[in-house]
Amino acid sequence: MQYKIDGNRLILYGELTYKSIEKLSKIVKKERFKLVDITKAETIDTTFMVFLITLKKEIVANSEQMKLLDIVKENFKGGTLEHKKVGFFYEIGLKFIERIKELYCFLVFIGEVFIKGVGVVFKPKRLRIKSIAKDIELMGFNAIPILATISFLIGAVIAYHGSIRLKQFGANIFVVDLVSISVLRELGPLIVAILLAGRSASSYTTQIGIMNVTEEIDVIKTMGVEPFDVLVFPKIISMLVSVPLLTILADISGVFGGLVVAKLSLGITLRDFILRLHQAISINTFLAGLLKAPAFAFLIATIGAYKGFRTQKNVESIGKSVTISVVDSIFAVIIADAIFSVLFRWMGI
């Protein structure tokens, strides 16, 4: 696009398309004129014309261009759209209230799970054994290799770090207490819960979220089937089965990791290790860890499913929901763990 100023007349040449709007807006700021002459233009498009009209100058055009200009004028109503602007504190308040609402909605969801759960107890046929079994395979059984590896390494690392200090005191054998108590009480269940929060909660949220976007959940509802029966209860039950079993596995694997390191770096024999293990831990230590497992399982499954149902009907929202679901379930698990610690202390376990 080229231009020329002739008195109070701006004459435009060449291609007047959306590409030249930026240039024209600079010219408008720089030059003074009352008329815009577009008769010399080679081509002109409607996008450019909209911009010309917003300038509110008189437009000189030939008959062909005039026709196009009339169409644009007819369809372009002017005025501005309402645009809400909010202050900083307003936004903070809004976010806070949204958080509170989110918590409220989650409590409502848990309530719904309980009430519908009572219905299932009276009508056990509503439980879908097949999908429970499938979910246990996917979320529990398939997690065994990674879980065994992680907890083995954690047990080994704790024993290794402990062994350096304990050697100085000549208290080598207490490495058994260190590993067994920390793994059985805290680390075993926590590793399982965090791993499954990443593995299962994200998968539940994605599955339910996409079903929500593609209106599959509505299809289930119109078929007269309770969506919770298909999507929530199988997941909760599969988690309730998987998490305790995986916790036991994590316990064994973690202590085994400690055993290997004790043998290699402190020279404690297998016999000594097991004898000491009997004195170090009681059944209560094991139960204190295992009792947390069902609570963690319930949190992971419900948060995963809940975030899925809360997904809005757009693609971006699925990504967001999955992130929040993983973060929230890990957070919830750790909070629950802290509460359990206080409770067990109080109860003297």
Partner: protein
């Protein structure tokens, strides 16, 4: 030839060993409303995707005088800017509002301030017959017909020379479909945009298209004006035009 905006000669497209189009030749003239007709699976969409450079093909596809299969990337980019495309499922970006959706091509190819962009977007929305208040709505809040119109507005935003429409009226009620056809015909008449569309809709076929081609068995069975095509001697065409659904047109046209 001058006035030919798309020239396709001996086009061959295959997915692996399966040949979808074999020796297809069509010519679209400037200012045409060109319809591609054919039964499901006859390769209509593939033909369109080949012209849109989404599908690899053998043969000659010449758009605005540039042969796409031998052109440089920069030339192809230029051609792409002169295209407006509306896919069958409307395919609006679900995480953007309707207004932002329509503004995407503008933002990508021109540096404009937001106010100007909004003005242009609102004009385009009004041009396809949408109310101003859809600007801030999300695609899932719209009906199917409105979504299609929003997609059309997005296809039109850069004043393309050619717009491609994949089954624009499928899934619309007859009134909305008529309305949509009228919009397309208006745009063609007023702005001189060349329209290439795939359709099953005989109303669109007889109502607005100026020229058409029929795809059958990987080849072009016939090309020309809609009423000339109707006279072709082919079993499927006869079923199409004189069967239950098509016969009303013959009744209207012959008495």
């Amino acid at each position: 030839m001058d006035g030919d905006i798309i020239v396709v000669r001996d086009l061959k497209v295959s997915y692996g060993k399966r040949v979808v189009l074999d020796g297809v030749s069509i010519t679209v003239k400037k200012g045409d409303i060109y319809t591609i007709l054919g039964r499901s699976g006859s390769g209509k969409t593939t033909l369109m995707r080949a012209i849109l450079m989404l599908e690899k093909s053998l043969g000659k596809i010449e758009v605005l005088g540039v042969d796409l299969n031998s052109a440089r990337e920069s030339e192809k980019e230029k051609i792409k800017k002169s295209y407006g495309v509306m896919f069958q499922a409307a395919s609006l970006f679900t995480s953007l509002t309707v207004g932002e959706n329509v503004a995407v091509p503008l933002k990508e190819s021109a540096k404009l301030d937001w106010e100007t962009t909004v003005d242009i977007v609102r004009f385009k929305l009004s041009l396809v017959g949408l109310e101003q208040d859809v600007f801030n709505l999300y695609p899932y809040e719209l009906s199917g017909g409105m979504r299609k119109k929003a997609a059309l507005a997005r296809a039109l935003v850069l004043d393309p020379k050619i717009i491609f429409l994949d089954e624009p009226t499928s899934g619309l009620d007859p009134v909305s479909a008529d309305d949509f056809d009228r919009t397309i015909a208006e745009l063609n008449r007023l702005l001189g945009i060349t329209v290439v569309m795939i359709t099953h809709d005989l109303d669109s076929f007889f109502g607005i298209s100026k020229r058409a081609c029929i795809l059958r068995d990987k080849k072009v069975l016939a090309e020309g004006k809609p009423y000339d095509i109707m006279k072709q001697d082919d079993e499927w065409l006869k079923k199409l035009f004189f069967g239950e659904r098509g016969s009303k047109f013959t009744r209207w046209n012959h008495g």
